[in-house]
Amino acid sequence: MADSQTPDPGKGEFQDPLENYDPPTFDDPLERGLHEETVTAIQSQPYAAISTETSVADALQKLAAQEISCLLVEQDGKLVGVFSDRDLLNKVALEYADVKNRPVHEFMTQQPIYVDETDSAAAALSVMAVSGYRHVPIVDLEENIIGIVSPQRVTKFLRAQLDKAAS
């Protein structure tokens, strides 16, 4: 007979997989700030979005008019891609006359890496470092677009974190 105190594996007793998890600790004030702040502490709005059927010409004009480097491409409110300066350089610039009226979904970067709004600021920076993405979209739990983290915004955020750590 099994001891009532002994867990019976056959009964699938719950074992918390995180029971021995020790969250990381940081002595460095800047590392602590980047780890503890969520990505929403980095300015992520306003952002500009277009539909998948927007023409390349219209997307280009929107980028230029707003003086931004990246548009989020959405379908039914969900993020499906980004269209950026790099897409223009690599896929559009030399072919512009032939492609200007085609839909942007043919030239966008599909399924971009994004971060959740609850992720740390360090996570967004790590996405940029590892994947080479310069713009990182932020989505909520339903994968609705919240905003976008850009190089300029990250720079400003890092500057503020450095100043905060110094004070």
Partner: protein, 156 residues
């Protein structure tokens, strides 16, 4: 030392510098675009005879030119270089890269030696890679991936 002290004291030479895409001011924008595509980079640097940087051509400049006049591809790049680009010395602190990017609102920063000769390129990616080294757990999550890894480089 942690990230805070490292950024203030470590020199730019500790960043992973990118190889410079050098262009002639006489080149056409079309040629520069082809060069940038081959190098998978968004910034080219015009240098003078002393190997000193004299102008930058970036994908942001290309965007504005294309939006204004798609026929710009046959222009000489010399007419569209920006000379107000950020630069740092190899011996400057990494924090200076951040300041240069913020002040000039560029994501590329030219790196020069003590004689002003160009030695590399850094900027947002180099800085993010340096910061991310201090968060190996986050980097591991990105490398193993809870989300798919992109088949193509952005993009953005």
């Amino acid at each position: 030392m942690g990230l805070f002290e490292n950024m203030r004291t470590a020199p730019v030479s500790e960043l992973t510098l990118r190889e410079v895409v050098r262009i002639s001011p006489d080149a056409s924008i079309r040629d520069v675009v082809n060069t940038l595509r081959a190098a998978e980079l968004g910034c080219a640097v015009a240098v003078d005879d002393d190997n000193k940087p004299c102008g930058l051509f970036t994908e942001a400049i290309l965007r504005m030119l294309l939006a204004k006049d798609p026929a710009c591809l046959d222009d000489q790049v010399a007419d569209h270089l920006t000379t107000a680009f950020p630069w740092v010395k190899l011996t400057d602190s990494i924090e200076m890269v951040l300041d240069a990017m913020e002040t000039k609102n560029f994501r590329f920063v030219v790196v020069v030696d003590e004689n002003g000769k160009i030695t590399g390129l850094t900027g947002q990616k180099g800085l993010m890679e340096y910061v991310a080294e201090h968060f190996p757990g986050e980097v591991m999550v990105q490398r193993i991936g809870t989300k798919h890894y992109p088949e193509q480089r952005e993009g953005a």
